[in-house]
Symmetry: C2
């Protein structure tokens, strides 16, 4: 009925993992059945929620429940969120009562907020317990929980967080000491509605393995662990890179996204940029008379505008990444202008010097540019300084403008900046040409 998995008799976990991206959901389900159950579960837990859903839908109905039940509440919530709407209730119905309640609570949070990342199951202790009591108590808790971090959180009767103690510290401590003496009280927390980028930055800055999530009344609701953050950091970077490249973020692996869905995600921006780029035809039309009189000017159009585009791409990539890392904030815009103005002038002068040298050399060897070659060279060189400086400034400030207006700064993609700079670059170039060449070529 389904296509056979590759060489089913000899399948090792590593072979399956290698072949994974190329397999259909049915083949993956077949493959999993050939592995020992615990190895298969390790693999199942490690794949993305989207892949988990596809896999479960490809399994016979009788086997679905046992896989869903193996998931921790936060992972089960991700699974439900990724599932087609009509399938969600059936998935929820497969969970035991406690987990279902926890999952439903988690589904109230946005997936990209701390509340949507957290695990609501964590080890709780009271401050007045002794270490021995705490260990006995934790032994009971660990048997109930599917997943638990390496810390126990000390809460008061209103579920407010008093401190944290690691299992390691409990092991190392004398049995008659109080939890309140052991615990670290200076605990960094995040709000349940903190954006995942903020959470990721906190992990990066602190090097912590787990951060507790609290609500507005400072009651502890769950814990985010650093292994979830690796995924987040990687996904955010993927989104930024795809947007910087001038496309919507795909949201799915390159090889498995349906071709028509990928084309739709790419066509939107490309068409929008194309519409913007049409202004270059208008601008060129405006200077048609100049081109007609001095065709030599047309020769340098691609060189000039692409230099502006390249310097803009550089600047926007650097600034967008620095923003994502939290190195740059909105209020730093003026410092960025100052830096980029200096950088733009320097880079433009370097390119201008190279361009002038090229024109002088070609003139000397091939006599390419006619009697006014020196003026043409000066036009190209000064235009380059202007265009590169403008490109650098535009590329670095556009992300600030977008963020200020509430958009994602990464939408200031390299192609977006290049398009913006192309039109302006043409105007700078032909205006410079008019000024320098009036009375000679023009």
């Amino acid at each position: 009925m389904t296509p056979a998995a590759p060489e089913p008799e000899t399948l090792s976990p590593d072979e399956l993992r290698d072949a994974w991206p190329a397999l259909s959901a049915e083949e993956r389900a077949e493959g999993l059945k050939l592995l020992p159950r615990d190895t298969a579960e390790d693999l199942f837990f490690s794949i993305s929620p989207r892949e988990q859903v596809e896999l479960i839908l490809a399994l016979p109905q009788a086997e679905q429940r046992s896989w869903v039940r193996g998931l921790a509440p936060d992972d089960a919530a991700d699974l439900v969120q990724e599932a087609p709407t009509e399938f969600r209730d059936r998935l929820l119905g497969m969970l035991d009562d406690q987990t279902r309640r926890e999952v439903q609570a988690l589904l109230a949070y946005r997936e990209d907020h701390a509340g949507g990342l957290m695990n609501p199951r964590f080890a709780r202790l009271r401050p007045d317990m002794t270490v021995d009591e705490a260990v006995t108590y934790l032994r009971r808790q660990t048997r109930q929980s599917v997943e638990m971090t390496h810390y126990a959180y000390v809460l008061d009767s209103a579920q407010r967080l008093l401190g944290v103690v690691s299992f390691r510290e409990l092991i190392a401590a004398r049995g008659d000491r109080r939890v309140s003496e052991l615990m670290k009280t200076d605990v960094r927390t995040v709000d349940a509605d903190a954006d995942q980028e903020v959470v990721a930055r906190l992990f990066r800055e602190t090097g912590l393995m787990a951060i507790p999530v609290v609500d507005a009344e400072k009651r502890m609701k769950g814990v985010v662990t650093v292994d979830d953050i690796v995924e987040v950091v990687s996904e955010e970077a993927t989104e930024d890179i795809q947007k910087l490249g001038g496309s919507e973020s795909l949201g799915e692996p390159y090889l498995t996204i349906a071709l028509n869905r990928m084309i739709r995600k790419r066509a939107g921006w490309l068409a929008a940029l194309f519409l913007g780029e049409m202004l270059t035809a208008t601008a060129m039309g405006y200077f048609e008379h100049e081109i007609d009189r001095a065709v030599v000017l047309a020769l340098f159009v691609p060189l000039i505008i692409s230099s502006g585009g390249n310097s803009g791409s550089q600047a926007t990539s650097l600034v967008i990444r620095a923003m994502a890392l939290g190195e740059l904030r909105l209020r730093d815009w003026f410092r960025v202008i100052r830096r980029e103005f200096g950088a733009g002038l320097a880079l433009g002068s370097i390119l201008g010097a190279i361009g002038l040298t090229r024109i002088l050399l070609w003139q000397a060897f091939f006599n390419t540019y006619g009697e006014h070659y020196l003026l043409v060279g000066l036009t190209v060189a000064s235009s380059l300084i202007g265009v590169v400086t403008f490109g650098t400034l535009a590329g670095s400030l556009l992300p600030f403008l977008l963020r200020r207006l509430g958009f994602d700064p990464a939408s200031a993609s390299a192609p977006f900046v290049a398009t913006l700079v192309d039109v302006t670059g043409l105007i700078i170039y032909f205006t410079t040409a008019s000024a320098i060449l009036r009375g000679t070529l023009l």
Copy 2:
């Protein structure tokens, strides 16, 4: 002597953290002194090794040792690696004997390999210990170690890894059970010389908190923890984004890198791209005669070449990211060609249709393009299909080519692809024009 830190009287840790990027090393050292020692240490441990070095060099010599001694061996090794050569021996001399030996062993590994990321201190157990014996033994070990993960590793007498057991499992288990019964034997490990990208991928795929590092004889040498990997994943993405933007990776925060160093990192690629882009002037010169006869052709040059550049930027960003995530391997090149050929044709047709519509509309309203407007429109539309398809293919295949030749695929930056496509785009455009317009405009 040093400039005063901002409002020293009222400094809170958060204020210092906020102001941090803008402060000089001297101001940071001043700021740290105003915090309670443990808060100051938390901050010190969380900053980058480069900042730690600057900070230590800004402290009075008598205070330096106590900060250096607080570092775990892997962090101390990073510190020594970042320090100026003449300062390294003095830093090593500040460590206690055991740590110094461990740091020297770590310095033998490359910083971006698993061996350079690992912590050589980890909790060791023997398989025949009971849980009670293990806990007693671990109590002794934890008191000696500065940093330890949440797992204990079970080794045989030759230091080969037999299994792993978490502190949590030890707490949950009965005291008379054997470690060998509790331990998980199916442990994922990495080789000491595995690249950090490979290590990061393994963490992403498995969701583990720590992975043991082994040498060629399978002896366990240390452990890499996921909190170090968050940094690695973030740094790798930063490098890729900066390279994709057409610059060398800065290796330092945007705001603190010296302006002349930043300009040098950006000028190299920009100048190289400029030299490549000069071929457009040569190509345009080759078609000067055509432009002279039909200036209308020049009007669409920026539109055509930028469309090729934009579609190339898209494709190269998508492919480079998919490669970094391990979704695409070298052997997938043919599948990528097939996908991108389809995508390129579709995207080119969309842009071609928009371009043709634009020309017909302008012609109807402004009579811009003369009697042969339909042929001009066809030239532009067919060139767009050709240029976008070529841009898409070039952008997606260049990363494969670079990787095959042993370069970083991320060097196939958006500007690099755009430059490549610009020259080819001109040739495609003017060749198409010659074919369609011969006998009419040309």
